[in-house]
């Protein structure tokens, strides 16, 4: 009865830590070789960690843990009997039996209530949590919310780890930089749908704008750069990121070496990225190393908006909806004044408008 292999957290991108977002089996479950056994979340993506051998799984972490790169998160045993029970996240036990999460023991009824209310077991001071303890906690929480000075009751919703990471990434330049935004209207007169079904270029000018921006960034390197400790660091590559936020949180899909690609290649990579996003199949590689971001909100009928600059970037382009009467749409450019300035941003956006309207 031995441990066959350890499942370690690999280094997938620049993160030093990852977040355990789901355990896909129960402790002591039999798992096949090369099967995903838990989901981990980096600042860029959620992905499955697989076990390299067949056997019986023992988790060393629980959902919500933050673990370091290289740390073991699970062991694969040759026999279930060699597993000393910990973290049986989905264990089905009798009412009076207990569920042990590291040092905290939780009854099944309490566990159900904890999961139903999306609580973290660590909020309980006791090392043994019963249903009554959870009910007391919820009552206290409810009373506390009713006693707010404003007198307004509210529902507490715990932020997902990915949202917290998103806030951190977007806060950086906005809090420390000198952010300004300019706007310009682009003509959409020549934009017509193609006669085919599923090509994303049929109704979107995103690939064309992406291509035009990629070509301009070599001419305007300060928009393909970032501010760091009183230095401006210009990226040698142009990797445009396409921001997408539907059901699975904000992700920025990277189109590597965008300026070296044809319009068709850019179009295909954007489609593929959106497809992977919807399928939740994006890997950290798909989301790493973007040097400039484009965010397209044209589907939502908005006139204009101020996009937020990502960490380690100096600017971001926002695309708004087409005004069908005026046959135009608004493009906004937020930029970090520490790296560039309004005049350059205006020239950049003007050049983009020229390029777009010429090639449209």
């Amino acid at each position: 009865m031995t441990v066959i292999c350890e499942v370690l957290v690999p280094k997938e991108d620049s993160d030093e830590e990852v977040f355990v977002s789901d355990l896909l089996f129960r402790n002591r479950d039999k798992v096949d070789k090369n099967v995903g056994i838990l989901d981990i979340e980096t600042s860029k993506a959620v992905f499955e960690l697989e076990c390299s051998e067949e056997g019986f799984v023992e988790y060393l972490v629980k959902v919500g843990d933050v673990v370091e790169i290289g740390q073991a998160v699970a062991l694969i045993h040759d026999s279930p009997s060699s597993i000393k029970g910990i973290v049986p996240k989905k264990t089905s036990v009798e009412d009076k039996e207990i569920d042990s999460v590291k040092d905290i023991k939780v009854t099944k009824d309490a566990q159900e209530l904890i999961e139903k209310n999306n609580l973290d077991v660590s909020v309980f001071d006791s090392s043994f949590v019963r249903k009554q303890d959870v009910e007391d906690f919820l009552n206290k929480q409810s009373a506390s919310s009713l006693n707010e000075p404003s007198g307004k009751a509210y529902v507490v919703k715990v932020l997902k780890r990915s949202k917290i990471i998103e806030i951190e990434a977007l806060s950086h330049v906005q809090n420390h930089g000198l952010v300004s935004t300019i706007f310009m209207n682009f003509s959409s007169r020549k934009l017509e749908k193609e006669d085919n079904l599923f090509s994303s270029s049929t109704s979107s000018f995103l690939p064309l704008i992406t291509s035009n921006v990629a070509n301009l960034l070599k001419e305007f390197p300060s928009f393909n750069a970032y501010f760091f400790e009183n230095e401006i660091r210009e990226y040698s590559s142009v990797n445009i990121g396409i921001a997408i936020d539907v059901d699975s949180g904000l992700k920025v899909i990277t189109i590597p070496e965008t300026n070296m690609l044809t319009l068709e290649e850019i179009n295909n990579l954007i489609s593929e990225g959106v497809y992977k996003y919807l399928r939740k199949e994006l890997s950290p590689k798909d989301l790493s190393n973007s040097t400039f971001t484009i965010t397209d909100l044209s589907q939502y009928g908005i006139e204009s908006f101020v996009p937020l600059i990502n960490k380690n970037q100096s600017s971001i382009l926002g695309i708004s909806s087409i005004d069908p009467d005026l046959k135009r749409f608004n493009v906004s450019l937020s930029f970090d004044h520490r790296v560039t300035e309004g005049k350059q941003a205006s020239i950049f956006l003007g050049r983009l408008k020229e390029l777009f309207e010429e090639t449209e």
Binding site: L197, T202, S203, V246, S271, V274, Y275
Partner: protein, 79 residues
Amino acid sequence: MNNRLQELTKIFIEVFGDESIVLDYETSSSDIDKWDSLNNMHLIVAIEDFYKIRFELKEIQSLQNVGELCEFVDKYLEG
């Protein structure tokens, strides 16, 4: 109406949230107002999920109209 066309019509209605959509074999993206790049991919994913198949993106992007889509789905289901 052909069964396949009926099934696809239901999928289109759900993805675009538009009960008034009526597909025929000649329907293309220019006939549906809300057809944008995002709904485009939502639609592909919804069709794949409904039929439990996975398309080659390049292949499906070359289709011209709903008639070709019906034939394409038939081919995948047979194959």
